[in-house]
Amino acid sequence: MEKVIELEDVWVRYGNQTILEAVSLELKEPNGLLGIIGPNGGGKTTFLKVLLGLLKPYKGSVKLFGKPPEKSRDLVGYVPQYKGFDFDFPISVWEVVLTGRMSHTGFLKKYSDEDKKAAEEALKTVEMFDLKDRQIGQLSGGQRQRVFIARALATNPKLLLLDEPNTGLDPHMQDELYRLLDRLKQEMAVIMVTHDLSAVSVYVDRIACLNRTLHYHNSREISVEDLEATYQCPVELIAHGVPHRVLERHKGSS
């Protein structure tokens, strides 16, 4: 069995600013949810872009399923961080989700029946099939977020990367999202970047903290030292609301 992710000593710079420093990560299990937390500007989005092959590290090696990211396009689904899209763009929900099939369809070919079936299933998974003919701008923020998740699912990924997918979702929809991820993680490896620490505590199987360096111990517990190093403030401020079963006991305290 190929390892899902092998990152070895990855360094990323913008200009002369180091964004990621000596990041290594090995993910063997083909399923389960890895949560990545960290402060704004900590490099979480950068980290995902390295995994996607959108950014080349100036040092270190990146492998997904034993291959460089460029060779594993059809195995990876991506939900980008909420950004200012042009919502006036003349494209329908259906057309957006189909673009998630391009790595399978190939150049110069029309979408096949299989592509259409995958897109339909993805839309049904996020319960947006009824709205498939809507123009993308005629949806609410949360509905749009679901469409972008469907676009990633249409790829039929073995690895799903989500960058703060809960942004703009109401509590009910967030709950739905987490339950959806809970289901999806049975069949694929899921990595979710989030600021929602209480969700992390309930739904994830593994946690990593990222702030230039990555703290990861292949467990669902975060050590107080890691948290403090990541957020650079006392843990009481961060761990507010985080159930104690996630937060490892402070050494020394009873």
């Binding site: 396009r73 991506y78 494209i91 057309e95 189909l98 673009t99 391009m102 790595s103 123009q135």
Partner: protein, 274 residues
């Protein structure tokens, strides 16, 4: 009116109007939805260098414009994406560089440069047969490329980053799109001229966006608008004896103004009623 149709120059003008409307209807839709109006204007103006080069070399200026506009599309695409200078500054610089080269070439050409104004402001009533054949070939190339790359172009225009993640070589595809825009500009030059090209690329497409949410239909509708409006423009310019390129732009602007304002009024009534 109909006896006008027996004149060859009128027939040529109508054929040119149709060929131009097809190119600008399809490609204008991309220019508008991808919001690359400025870079398209840059390519158009820079290709004046090609007009000058054509005069200087003593060949048909159209054959100077063709390679020159493709070259400026590539240079602008690469420089604006790769260099550290902001994209719009880079475009602005190349825009004027191309025009300056054109002026120098024309100056260096011995004697008088006939039809120079035609390239700047267009004159659809004097399009020669040879140019029509060139326009037809370019139209076929443009339509063929869009047919082949439709799903890639759509995704590229909507979300470049995600398209890259899907394994599509987006940088090359973007350059291809700019080259197709360059070809479109060559098709349009004889109709409205370098200076006014950008109006033909943007107005019919923007107008058609008001009637549909689908890119393909947008291309179709703006082609129809283009034909109707340029034919009207040709008729008016012939009847009033005023320059055809500018007349077509004026008709376009008027129609756009009426439709846009009219639809906005209708919509605001709708909203206030409900």
């Amino acid at each position: 009116m109909f006896d006008l149709l027996q004149y060859t120059f009128i027939q040529n003008a109508l054929i040119a109007a149709i060929l131009a409307s097809v190119a600008c209807g399809i490609i204008g839709a991309y220019v508008v939805v991808k919001k690359i109006v400025f870079i398209s204007g840059g390519i158009a103006h820079a290709s004046f260098g090609g007009v000058g080069l054509g005069y200087y070399l003593g060949i048909n200026p159209m054959f100077g414009v063709l390679p020159f506009s493709l070259l400026s599309a590539l240079v602008m695409g690469i420089v604006s994406k790769k260099s550290k200078i902001p994209e719009d500054s880079a475009i602005g610089i190349l825009w004027s560089l191309g025009m300056a080269l054109g002026v120098i070439f024309v100056y260096l050409t011995p004697g008088y440069a006939p039809d120079l104004m035609t390239y700047l402001f267009g004159n659809i009533l004097t399009v020669p047969r040879l140019d029509l054949y060139l326009m037809l070939v370019l139209d076929i190339v443009i339509v063929g490329a869009v047919y082949l790359f439709y799903k890639e172009f759509l995704s590229l225009c909507f979300d470049e980053e995600f398209t890259t993640v899907q394994g599509v070589p987006t940088e090359k595809l973007y350059l291809l799109l700019l080259c197709i825009i360059a070809l479109t500009i060559v098709v349009l030059i004889k109709v409205v001229g370098i200076i006014l090209v950008i109006a033909l690329l943007t107005i019919p497409a923007t107008l058609s966006r008001k009637f549909t949410n689908n890119l393909k239909r947008m291309m179709l509708i703006s082609t129809v608008f283009g034909i109707a409006i340029s034919v009207t423009g040709i008729g008016l310019s012939y009847a009033l004896d005023v320059p055809s390129g500018a007349t077509i732009i004026l008709v376009l602007s008027f129609v756009y103004g009426f439709v846009a304002v009219g639809m906005d009024i209708l919509e605001s009534r709708h909203v206030s009623k409900s």
